[in-house]
Each structure stands twice: as C-alpha cells, then as structure tokens.
C-alpha cells in the first residue's frame, strides 16, 4: 500500500514538473501510460535507416537498425541496390503516396498521439496520415487486405504498448535509400516512455519474401515542447499537383 502511494506521489510530482499548459499527466484516467502529445524523431532514418555518410543535402547518420545489417535475401539485396540507384524516381515518396509503417514514424514531421480506452490514435502532419491502433482486444480483420498503413492492433504489456501490424502493400519503402519490404511484412512495435518527454520506439520487421530473419530498428521519439506546437499540414500529393498546375 505504501509503495503504491509512493509511486503515485512520484507520478504526481512528475506531472507537476511537466508543462502545466499541456496538462500532461503520467497516466491516463484508465491508468495506462499517457503517451498523448506531439512527438517527432531527431534522426536521419528518413534518408537511410542504416549508417551512411553525408551526401549533398543529406546529413550523415548513424543507423537505427540494431547491428546495422538488414538480413536481405540475395535477390532482395540486388533489388535494394537497384532501388538506391533509381531512388530519385522510384521512391514512392516522390509520388506523394502514403509512406506506410514504419516509415511514417521517422519522417521529419511531427505527429500527435491521442488515447481513449479503446484505441491509441496517431495523427501525422505528413500526408494527413492516420493510424488507429485498436487496444480493445479486437483481432486483425479477416484478410487478405492490402493497406498502405496496414492494420494495427495493440495491447499493453506492463507499461509498454505492443502493436502488431499486418496487411501491407508491396508499394511502400522503408527510407529514401531504397530499403524495402513486400506485402507479407509483419511488424511488432513497442512504445515505452523513458520519461515524460522521451519515448523508446522499437520495431521488429518480419517478411519471409525479402528477409532471411526478423530484424529490429530502435530510436527515440522526442516530445515537442514548444508551447504553441501543433500538427500542421503537409499534403505532398496536393503540393505536387499544385506545382504541376503552376507549370501550365
């Protein structure tokens, strides 16, 4: 009992220390870790999830892939290299399409998390993307389905949100360097608050068509703390069409 009281007190102190304006608390009213707020990565995974040197306009970066190597099957590695050569036109991002998951998680744009007892909702500035992660115990719907953002079902393992994602297309990539997957992609994501303003994000990718074994990416999501922060709008398709219209 005393221990419960102490941890509640600690949680209350943490929440006092948090930005009062955002009314951020450590727990939601149903006792789950409160992931709500505006988040964004501070890494270079959008360009290349692996270690890479700087290129013109592209910052060098240490990869987010655990061990740095992606276990491609030989023919898939050849495809990845081809994708890299043709990336200026072959990358689905250049067409203004939904970037898929996990790619949207590390695009250099903010996203906002909302929670209800039934779901964890993610609203992305990039391409007005939206992910509903159902946490109400419902299973994936009956397939086969091909969705750009997949189907996400989550559960709480202690204070970690564990999300199972399936039903992808083979038309999304993992980064601007040509890393890719097939429609057999299966993700297991883990979201764990390190403290109120940092969240550890880990995603394991399994895709027997492309990889010889599952592999994992790890990165930190940072809470955007600006008092006026908000998710705005970057609709790449509309902006491309607008540029096209202006050329005529």
């Amino acid at each position: 009992m005393r221990k419960v009281f102490t941890s509640a007190l600690v949680a209350a102190l943490f929440s006092l220390a948090a930005d009062r304006a955002s009314a951020q608390t450590a727990r939601t009213s149903d006792g789950k870790p409160n992931l709500q707020g505006v988040w964004q990565v501070l890494n270079t995974a959008a360009w290349d999830v692996q270690d890479h040197s700087a290129r013109l306009g592209i910052p060098a970066g240490q990869g987010v892939v655990v061990g740095n190597e992606i276990p491609y099957k030989p023919e898939a590695l050849a495809k990845k290299r081809q994708n890299f050569q043709n990336r200026a036109t072959a990358d689905p991002e250049t067409k203004g399409y939904l970037p898929g998951v996990p790619r949207i998680m590390y695009m250099p744009f903010p996203f906002q998390i909302f929670q209800t007892p039934e779901s964890v909702l993610m609203v992305f500035e990039y391409d007005r993307g939206v992910r509903t992660i159902y946490t109400n115990g419902t299973p994936h719907p009956r397939g086969p389905l091909n969705w750009w953002m997949g189907d996400s079902r989550g559960r709480w393992e202690g204070d970690t949100l564990v999300v199972d994602v399936v039903y992808f297309t083979d038309e999304t990539w993992l980064d601007r360097a040509g890393n890719f997957h097939s429609d057999a992609l299966h993700l297991v994501e883990r979201y764990t608050l390190a403290d109120l303003d940092h969240m550890n994000y880990e995603v394991t990718l399994e895709d027997a068509n492309v990889f010889t074994s599952p592999w994992t990416m790890r990165m930190v999501l940072y809470r955007r703390k600006e008092p006026n922060v908000r998710v705005l709008e970057y609709d790449p398709g509309r902006l491309m069409d607008e540029a096209e219209a202006a050329r005529h």
């Binding site: 608390t25 709500q36 007005r128 908000r230 069409d241």
Partner: protein
C-alpha cells in the same frame, strides 16, 4: 461532357458509402423529426431542449462513435429540382433533393453577383476538376456527408478528433482554448477550435486555404471563410449538425446549412483505409480533356 462524366464515375466509386446512405436510407423521419432539412432543423432544436445526452467519463456530452450523414446529398447544398438536366443523366443521374440550406429563407447561397456564375453548376463545375476527385480533402463541411466518420474524445479533454473515412482526413479540434493559428498559415480543413455551449459542441474554424467545394456543383468559399459548426445530440443516435458560413469575399451575408448525423450501429464497424491518390486513374484524362486543377481558382486576386 463525356470526360466530365468519367470523372463523376470515379467520384461515384469513391463515394459509394454516401450513395448507399442516400438511396437506402430515405426514412420519413430522422431522430423523430421530419426528414426535410428545414423541418428537421426546427424540430431538432426543440427536441434538444429536453434531451439529456449520455456523458463521457469526464462528464462532457459523449458524441463518440461512428456517424453517417443523413438528409444530405453531395450534388448541391441548394438542392436539386426536377428541372435540373443532370437528373436525367444516363451516367450518374442526380436525385431530386431538398436544399440543406435553412437560412436565408430562399434557401440559396447568398452569393455576391460576381460569384453566381462561378458556383451553382457554373465555371467551377465546367472548367475545374472537383478538388475531391483530385484526391484532395472533401473539405469542411462536405466531409461530414461523405462516407462514415468517427468522433473521439481522447483522455484529458484537451482535444476532440473527428476522423473521416473519406480520403483518410482527420480533424483535430482543440478544446483547450489555444490561440488561433497565425493568419499567414492556411490549411485545407482549417484551424479548428472547439468549446461546449451547454450540450452543444461548437467548432470554430478559420485559416482555410479555400481549395474546397461544398458539393459536386462547385459551390464554393474562399480563403477568408469562417465556419462555425454546432453538433447537438437530439437522441442517443442522432446529431443535429448545423454549419454557419461567413465569407465577406464571396457572400452578401452569413448563411446556414443543416443536416443530421446518424449513428452507424453495425456490430464491429470500423473505419477502413481509403487511400485515394495511390489508386488514382482518371485525373490525367480529366486534365487532358482541358479541365483544370482548382488551385487556379477563379476567385484568385479578389
């Protein structure tokens, strides 16, 4: 005209949900009120006085759930009369429908003179690709009559989220009194700030980029529009949805639209992913036929 129709076929395919609702769901009453927007409006406002809505866990009126537009159609907010030639279209016949406008009394958009030939099956309709067909957002308030939507009231009551299946559009409505967005930032669905007025959710939106239409007819607003939506439950499964539109650039006075949002009660119902651009096939054909993107909007420079 054929080219135009091919675009409409695409739009029809996208709007399958809305069409079903329009054809299957033509009840005599909605929420115990007459199924004609003006009559519904008067009756619903009266019913709302005595109905106590369910409460969320934090004690606010609970609007959460899945909703579909009723008493609404996407052809024209001014209604469709029997003399409209498109009613006889062999490709996609429009349905004779009452106006969704409840004010002004003539139930027409109070356009300034210059804007009349642009809206109302005019320049917009004949020369521009419907922004929704080009995979843009349906826009506010058209979103609320296309396909299903979901209202969420996330923990803490700082925000309310209105998700629309139509082109995966999401609206984040700030309930925390945050200041308005700077006027130089324009967004497709506006900057939306909400508050509770008794049991009514009031959403005040500005900062629109003016890239959207009200309907298939090309009725329009501009980037100076100010939209106030009022959502009031009149029974557990019916919301009276009222939209007041003000835009001094294009109308002579504010005006008001009304329709109903009816709860989607199919067991296990969830919103599906509706990618649009990713499967777009007809836009090039429309553009090659001489139709233009609406970004070159005919009100530019006004």
């Amino acid at each position: 005209m054929l080219m135009r129709n091919s675009g409409l076929v695409l739009a029809l395919a996208i709007a399958a949900g809305a069409s079903l609702a329009a054809q299957d769901g033509k009840p005599k009453t909605v929420g115990g009120c007459p199924a004609e927007p003006a009559a519904f409006h008067a009756c619903a406002l009266d019913k709302a006085k005595t109905f106590t809505p369910p409460r969320s866990r934090s004690g606010k009126p609970d609007l959460q759930g899945y909703w579909r537009g009723q008493l609404a159609q996407s052809f024209s907010v001014e209604g469709v009369s029997g003399s409209e030639p498109l009613v006889g279209s062999s490709v996609m016949p429009w349905q004779i429908s009452p106006a969704m406008i409840v004010d002004p009394p003539d139930r027409k958009i109070p356009y300034q003179a210059w804007a009349i030939p642009i809206g109302r099956i005019g320049v917009n309709y004949h020369q521009y690709v419907d922004p929704r067909t080009a995979c843009g957002s349906g826009g506010v308030p058209r979103l609320a009559l296309q396909d299903a939507s979901q209202i969420l009231q996330p923990d803490g009551d700082q925000f309310l989220v209105w998700l629309h299946e139509d082109h995966h559009v999401q609206r984040v409505i700030a309930m925390n009194g945050r200041p308005p967005l700077g006027t130089d930032i324009k967004v497709t669905n506006g900057d939306s700030r909400g508050r509770w007025d008794g049991n009514t959710l009031v959403i005040d939106s500005a900062n629109f980029n003016g890239y959207n239409w009200f309907d298939d007819s090309g009725n329009f607003y501009t980037d100076t529009v100010h939209i106030v939506e009022r959502l009031t439950m009149i029974d557990r499964d019916t919301i009276h949805y009222e939209v007041r539109v003000e835009d001094p650039k294009v109308y002579t006075r504010p005006w008001t639209l009304v329709w109903a949002l009816v709860r989607e009660k199919e067991p296990g119902f969830e919103l599906l992913e509706e990618a649009c651009r990713e499967g777009q096939r007809d836009l090039d054909t429309l553009l090659q036929s001489g139709m233009k993107y609406y970004f070159e909007k005919p009100w530019q420079g006004r």
